[in-house]
Symmetry: C3
Subunit: 447 residues, 3 copies
């Protein structure tokens, strides 16, 4: 049996109060789906799943949602992002014309008990987990907001508001899965926004994932997935896009903004693409291929590494020094082609002092092609720490009063060999053993 | 309090008649949202916003909609585009088997009074404007049609149907904004389809914006936004995609067709990407970077400049001559890499007569890398002015009876210096002062 | 007149039973739309169309749906894909913990009579066809599943489950059309998933099309369309993405997995883009430009050709030998730039034996630019035929115990001339008549 009752509205379900505990309501709906769709093993025994709708509203989630049925869509009407930093800048007393303090849309407020459990999956608002066969398929999360509400003190001097730590995860997929979709979602103030293990043909598309500790983490292993057309920005401790042991992953058309410790970090990932993204960071180590990541294509990305503009974060970074490389490649036979890399940094802040910053660094492996990359490096004076939106844009646009900065456009470590470095810097800018690597410098006037 | 009543259907709202004046209805709904969600400044005071639904239908809009709440989604069920040129080709009297004359879907007919106001914002169907703090966030327009109905005479001889002038704007965002989304929309016969000031983390994705004077205009300043996966085509007077003073803008995967005066025009835009688009125009001046636009990446785009095929527009163009360049770059340290440029033009129509057309032109600034671009130039006979769809395709595919055409693949003006031009034309095709710029010609047989 | 009744739910329509025959229900709804919206030829005569909703459920389709109205959206709540191979691996008798056998979501089960007709259009679940003027516009299919249920025996020894033949088509658009959208759909076990003739400004976006004989086929001719951000994989007999006589087609951000006979095949296609895709195949002939396809851009794609890992398909392929080329270009003035190509094959299986596999092959035409492509070739031992998901990923990631394999990175046939081949292989790897083509080998150490 399948019919109109496969469409559920959480505000109309007789069990529980979705505003008090959305988890209780959705788990009750999933139990109902299972009761009504129980005929798996007969010839015409369809189990089509269902759609659960969250109209715009504030839904506290005090019980973890456990999804263990295929073909379930949970969707809302609004990703509901607003910059939560506003909350922590509200002055004491009155603020005339203050419109709102919190995210909105179809908003899930993650209010799990802090002692919910030791591991990450226990502290996820939505857990997807199922044993048995086949793999769970076609679960979709779309167009609602998961809000972790606030971060916790981390023992340092900087305010709790900025720690990016609270032990909360938005969506945690623990089991092998097929053809999942995460689209049009908003994630905010979660230590981990989206953690997916063992993904096959996953689509993470057109989401807004910001002010989270970590944004997209594909763990375990996986294949043939895509992370496309998202707006993403993690915290200084975390990863904006991370994948491990994936093959055939396509990461494209994303706009990844600060302050993630890394923009795209791939470990043990092969035959995958990082193409056509716009990446912005305040630290070195933006694109990292390690753990034997091989045969990947890093092409036509725009990378900007500039200075932290906001006072509360001055002096905080990801701990890497400027020789680390904006793009750092370990592993064999990768391709780094046609990228634009801008380093707009204060020469007085370079670490270690007097070092020459590195744009692309090959640390290990053989046979990588680095071709036709354009590295621009400029020295700018330290900024004033103005956090206003218009000041941020000024910083992004600013090229005045800047001088050319010495840069190593490509550094090939002795542990890496038999690479070709073409048209990616002048003779001086490419630091590599010419007896072990082929180098063709970008022609310059008079050279 | 928030509940199911945060979902509104304009056809079921007790105030006003949405078919007679949609503006009155939506403004009444927004007033209701504000009355019901008024508790901004308390700890758990959510203002989740709402969703307003337009089922398919013809909705006249005689009062401007003013959006001044965050977390508002206005959505329909159909972008409803149809080529409006059909209306102006209907013969007098009968036309058997004429199916429809007008756009459809969830369609807003913009019927504002022509004396609605002097400035553009007053003549917008949807105005988003709010003062105070924080910036307005997470407003979404999705999946409906905004139809400006008709253009007005412009005093010239060509028919009003083709003037692209009527003073109407579809959506005008006047205030600084965050995390807005415009997705799946249709815009047709508006002088300005979508005008957004001061955007942060804006997403304009998967829309259909055609037969409008101007399509996407990002004004003032802004950052970290994306214009992706749209079908776009402006009028001969206008701009298909325009942005000013933006940083970190990602323009990718768009299919931009004629006849915009420019396909992508960036003024004072830095550290942004125009990658992976398909661009088609009938005039020079397709991609323009001016006003000091710097450190941008223009890569893997396909550009086609061919001849106007449609009789009513013969002799009408954007006024630029063929030395202007298809890609024209002023500003420092830009990258123009791996683009394909096809010029398929009638040598008899080149302006000024006997001039050699220019593909990529650097007019100012220093340090731009132009590498691995492929320019193809052909002389074709003037076309017949057949507007039929099949004839348009024929023109697009036509390479018969064409001869190679002399072309300057890259022209570096004296005002620009210290650029590198690599593998983007033969020695003769690259016109640049070799004492001021580094040039490596594309190898040719026997050279 | 237009109003809320332009929103239809198939489970609430009084005519027919959507679970028994969805076609009868939708055709009845379309008839109703036509009756209610009949005033085409008057000044304010809107025919806005409608939206038809399929809640999650199993809908048998025994009557073909015929769409002949513009502005019709048919949408569901779930693409419902699950790998159907599970059905054919279920052991006799009990399988504890078997969750489901069939796809789900808003699922259309294509149960047309096998004698439905001779031609493909007669055997399509959804046929779009309309004569008269104007062209049919703005039809949208979104977010439901079309399931062909099973394949039929083909006379060979391999199981019917894997023949990819059943004469069924999901959606067949027979007439010239404008501004169609196919988004978020799932297609499974159809011989032809999506066949569209004469498309203008079509968008095929974010779909899941797998385990179908052929996936996307754009036939006849067409222009200015896009195929973006899809997950696609055809059968060994078929085509994953095919287009003929198109101009201005943009194919980007797709993840195309095995086993299609071709990944992207363009015949008579000009001034189009295949950029930024991830392509994976078990055979040569992944990207084919033939029939005079000219002035296209093939850039920043990642191609992987490796070995069939699954026992039932061992020995089955597309019949092409390893000299065919992974990218094969006939036609003039194309661009092949900045692609990464990995060949990870068993030297013992190369066909013909002892041949050197070819990565990029130019078979005809003049003036193509092949630049900055990176070809990686490795010899791996034949695999065990393990179909488990984790084994598939292992295969994708595996680089151990592999040796470098001799490869012709670019082969230019005598029938093709005046091409430029730059930085796409060593002197030995580029096989071309140097008196007819310009070649610059990728620099190597010591060379």
């Amino acid at each position: 049996m399948s019919g109109p009752s496969n469409h559920y509205d959480v505000t109309r379900w007789p069990v529980g109060d979705p505003f008090a505990d959305l988890g209780e309501v959705i788990n009750s709906i999933i139990a109902d789906i299972k009761t009504r769709q129980s005929n798996a093993n007969v010839a015409d025994g369809g189990k089509p799943g269902a759609v659960i709708y969250l109209p715009p509203g504030d839904y506290h989630l005090r019980t973890q949602v456990v999804v263990d049925v295929s073909f379930l869509t949970i969707h809302g009407s609004g990703h509901g992002f607003t910059s939560s930093s506003i909350r922590f800048n509200v002055p004491e007393g009155e603020w005339p014309e203050l419109h709102e303090l919190w995210p909105g849309g179809s908003r899930v407020l993650v209010d799990l008990e802090p002692d919910a459990g030791e591991d990450d999956s226990a502290r996820a608002a939505f857990l997807v987990e199922r044993s048995g066969s086949p793999r769970i398929s076609s679960v979709e999360f779309s167009n609602f907001c998961i809000d972790g509400l606030r971060f916790l003190p981390d023992g340092s001097e900087h305010p709790a508001a900025n720690s990016y730590l609270n032990g909360k995860t938005g969506i945690h997929v623990a089991s092998a899965n097929d053809s999942f979709r995460v689209v049009g979602m908003g994630f905010v103030y979660l230590e981990h926004a989206l953690v997916i293990h063992h993904a096959d043909a996953l689509s993470i598309h057109d989401n807004f994932i910001a002010e989270c500790g970590n944004c997209v983490e594909l763990l375990g292993w996986g294949q043939a997935s895509k992370i496309t057309d998202n707006l993403i920005g993690a915290g200084f401790r975390g990863r904006s896009i991370y994948a491990e042991n994936h093959g055939g992953l396509l990461i494209t058309a994303n706009n990844v903004f600060p302050r993630g410790a890394s923009s795209v970090h791939l470990t043990g990932v092969s035959r995958s693409s990082v193409t056509n993204n716009r990446l912005h960071s305040f630290y070195p180590g933006m694109v990292i291929l390690d753990g034997g990541s091989s045969e990947n294509l890093i092409a036509t990305n725009h990378l900007l590494r500039d200075e932290e503009p906001w006072t509360p974060f001055l002096g905080i970074d990801n701990g890497l020094d400027d020789r680390f490389g904006l793009i750092r490649v370990g592993g064999d036979h990768n391709s780094v082609i046609a990228n634009h890399l801008s380093l707009v940094i204060d020469a007085q802040r370079i670490r270690p002092p007097q070092a020459t910053p590195v744009a692309v660094r090959l640390t290990a492996g053989t046979g990588t092609l680095v071709a036709t990359n354009h590295v621009v490096a400029m020295d700018v004076h330290a900024r004033s720490g103005d956090s206003a939106f218009s000041a941020q844009v000024d910083a992004l646009l600013s090229t005045t009063a800047s001088d050319a900065l010495g840069v190593t456009t490509v550094l090939v470590d002795p542990a890496s060999a038999r690479n070709s470095v073409l048209d990616s810097g002048t003779e001086e800018q490419v630091v590599a053993d010419r007896t072990a690597n082929a180098v063709r410098a970008t022609p310059t006037v008079g050279a």
